[in-house]
Amino acid sequence: MSEWWTYTLSDFLLFSPHTYYRLFELYNAAIWPGQMLAMALGLAVVVLLGARRPWRGRAVSAILAACWLWVAWGFLFTRYATINWTAVYMAAAFAVEALLLVLVGVVGDRLGGRRQEHWTGRAGLGFVLFALLIQPLVGPLAGRAWSQVELFGVAPDPTVVATLGVLLTVERARWELLAIPLAWCAVSGATLWTMEAPDAWIMPAAAALALVLNRAPRSRCANRMPGSGTWE
């Protein structure tokens, strides 16, 4: 692209805010009551994060992987790509994240470390609860219709925030798992900012906070669970 410095973010916005949010409305209507299943899976993640089961890391990873894969296919590829041709690449990235979650979390069992005792771990749990319970309210509070609500497991933003939260509950999240969620936070923030959405700051803020928390000093956890992967 020549004269790249003359381009602004708005030059890459292919659709109107109305069309973007209407996409969620139609999507929600089409997949109902799939949202109930997604919310149940989200609550299962919260319960599992507090459980002392040796298989909990694998279970959480499997749930997140399923959600990422669904968002890749059900939303990004089949819906979002109808108004944004770059969504095909986003869908591929989400599918890669799902694969990484399976490889690292399910096969490698490296997402089972207990860190809730440490404040960063509790912050991670806060991310998950925010994604499940608070983030869906942001759109309606900003004046958008309830029918356009974005929920964990079916919409990208809360799925990404919940994943960041889970990664914060393990000892030092792995960069290969963080890269795509952080990139999505930038993409989503830029999209919403270009659309002048009042909640555009949420995803970049979540990414920044996750980065800071992930680098925060922590003490060696005393009650490492079996199969909990690498520890410092």
């Binding site: 020549s2 004269e3 003359t6 708005s10 030059d11 916005l13 292919l14 659709f15 109107s16 109305h18 069309t19 209407r22 996409l23 139609l26 819906r79 109808t82 108004i83 944004n84 041709w85």
Partner: protein
């Protein structure tokens, strides 16, 4: 070169329904003076085009949303009913081409359509496939105008387009740019290739093309399509906060959209402006600019000064 005209009899007969409806619509679209649409001639052929067309950037990219598609079709219906002809799109515009195809089918393929699309792919050899996909999405026998979008791989694509024109599979060939980018290269192509059209950004605030591109277009006999007439919306939103100046009535403008569009199409080199909208009310307002008197140089200067002062 005198490029102002009313539309030819043949064209108007072709758009008989549209013309009839336009007469009915005239009060609704804010026309203060009856008459035929302002036609501006394509220099390379002499064919007249209504001075206001319809863009599709962002506005027609509504995906599979049935309600929004129907709304876009209504915009198109009102556009044609008000005498419009040229619709412009691009493979870059998401689902816009498919939505235009949907609208054309719903309107039983308006005979006056002047289909303008683009080729936008870095590979020259894949240009013909992309053009064919675009044609299928519009569901037209052939495009009237194909343009190389933002000069992407322009040498290879122009070769393809000129070959299509020579074979009778395309009527006009053009290039596009926007927001003042690559004007030096645009000039070079305008001088070296037998272009029929060039598409550039031109509006009351973005007037860089007045210096070289527009005079060169007149000199070389190249039609000009003006994109981003309202700067994608911010310009008209800004001026609408202020009352329309009383002197706008002197050139038959009933609203800001018409004043801004008449400024553009009154430039002797400009053939057509292509505002995009999702609103039936707005397309009616826009099409009002294709009727009545055009500003002379004094009113054009006054328009610039007034808008810059807001």
């Amino acid at each position: 070169m005198q490029d102002f005209s009313t539309l030819s009899r043949r064209t108007l007969i072709g758009c008989m329904t549209a013309a009839g409806a336009a007469a009915v619509l005239r009060p609704a679209i804010g026309l203060s003076r009856p008459g035929t649409a302002i036609g501006k001639r394509i220099p390379s052929s002499g064919e007249a085009l209504p001075a206001v067309g319809l863009g599709s950037w962002i506005t027609f990219n509504v995906g599979d949303d049935g309600e929004a598609r129907a709304s876009c079709a209504e915009v198109m219906r009102n556009f044609f009913e008000a005498g419009g002809r040229l619709i412009d799109s691009s493979p870059m515009y998401g689902s816009s081409q498919a939505v235009i195809g949907y609208g054309l089918a719903r309107l039983d393929r308006p005979p006056g359509l002047f289909s303008a699309d683009k080729v936008w792919i870095s590979s020259g050899s894949r240009g013909p496939d992309q053009i064919e996909r675009s044609r299928r999405l519009w569901d037209v026998p052939r495009f009237d105008l194909l343009q190389v979008h933002n000069l992407l791989s322009w040498e290879e694509h122009l070769e393809t387009l000129f070959a299509m024109k020579a074979a009778g599979r395309l009527r006009y060939v053009g290039i596009t740019t926007s927001e003042g980018r690559r004007h030096r290269e645009v000039e070079q192509i305008m001088r070296s290739r037998p272009l029929d059209f060039v598409q550039v950004t031109y509006n009351v605030l973005d007037r860089e093309v007045e210096e070289r591109i527009l005079p060169l277009a007149r000199e070389r006999g190249i039609a000009v399509i003006a994109n981003r007439p309202f700067r994608e919306g911010p310009l008209i939103r800004r001026v609408k906060k202020h009352p329309l100046p009383a002197w706008a009535a002197e050139i038959d403008c009933a609203n800001w959209a018409q004043l801004l569009l008449k400024f553009i199409v009154s430039h002797p080199a400009v053939t057509c402006a292509i505002p995009a909208t999702t609103s039936v009310a707005h397309v009616r307002e826009n099409m009002g600019a294709a009727y009545g008197r055009l500003p002379d140089e004094a009113i054009r200067r006054r328009t610039v000064a007034h808008v810059e002062g807001l």
